[in-house]
């Protein structure tokens, strides 16, 4: 495959992610911040987000499995995750966090359990999607091309 085909494939995939609401415009902000001085900026921020989220998800599962659920603790974790997902443009993850916080406010155990499942699903989805996107970027770079800049 030549560079142009690879770039078109990348662009098509990225457009789908925006269309499906997996990513929102904040992701474009990250791409705009990538430059010669920080050529791996998006990958670095997203990697931090993945690691951070993984830890939070682990803590959330632990907190939810307690005999006496502390909704304040859970809400604090979800608030963190809502913030970081919003900062990287992981739209669906952020949306689940909003619902999750509502269940916390209402001390709704079942609502929280469902939100937890949705959260893991959406996090896993955006993680796999972005990892695939980064692979496509690597292919473009390996073929001697450059990653197109998305115009906001």
């Amino acid at each position: 495959m030549d560079v142009n085909q690879l770039q078109r494939g990348w662009y098509k995939y990225l457009t789908t992610l925006f269309k499906e609401g997996i990513l929102d415009d904040q992701y474009k902000q990250l791409q705009q911040l990538q430059d010669e001085s920080t050529p791996n900026f998006v990958l670095e921020v997203v990697s931090l987000f993945f690691d951070d989220s993984q830890k939070i998800i682990y803590e959330l599962e632990r907190a939810l499995s307690q005999p006496l659920v502390d909704y304040k603790v859970i809400d604090a974790y979800v608030h963190q995750l809502k913030g970081s997902s919003s900062s990287v443009g992981a739209y669906k993850v952020k949306e689940v966090c909003v619902k999750f916080r509502e269940s916390c406010e209402n001390q709704n155990k079942e609502g929280c359990t469902i939100a937890m499942q949705n959260l893991k699903h959406e996090f896993s989805r955006v993680k796999h999607n972005l990892q695939y996107l980064f692979e496509l970027e690597q292919q473009i770079l390996s073929a001697g091309g450059s990653i197109p800049t998305i115009m906001l």
Binding site: Q32, T38, L48, F49, A76, S84, S86, S87
Partner: protein, 158 residues
Amino acid sequence: MASSSSSWSSNGEEEPHVLAVDDSVVDRKLIEKLLKREDCKVTTAENGLRALEYLGIGDEKGTTPNQELKVNMIITDYCMPGMTGYELLKKIKQSSTMKEIPVVIMSSENVPTRINKCLEEGAEEFMLKPLCQSDVTKLRCHMTKVRNPSNGRFCLGR
């Protein structure tokens, strides 16, 4: 590496030094890059205590104000465990050495009472997260070392 083409040097200004405080590692990385794009020197702190220690106004015995320290602006998240951005703002405004430094508060939540109390306590701006480049560009007027009305520049404020 000194930058001779910084967006500040054409005005005869030294690059501003901004202290960015946020408990989120993702947000610290973002705000740092946004500020560096504006040719600022950036120091980050992960919580209010560390920020106060850096400024030399921590509560611990032995933290003395650092006379050499030049911080032109402090930008802090509101929601942080331990000390909130508001509490950090208050401590800075209570400090005889640091109270003149402009403080900007960021928050992911648009809560009018929160915004008002921060502005009343002396915050220059209250900004909603996530920040974009144009938000940070707007903060440049707060970063100038000397507030000199005769410079011919003025800040449109909030």
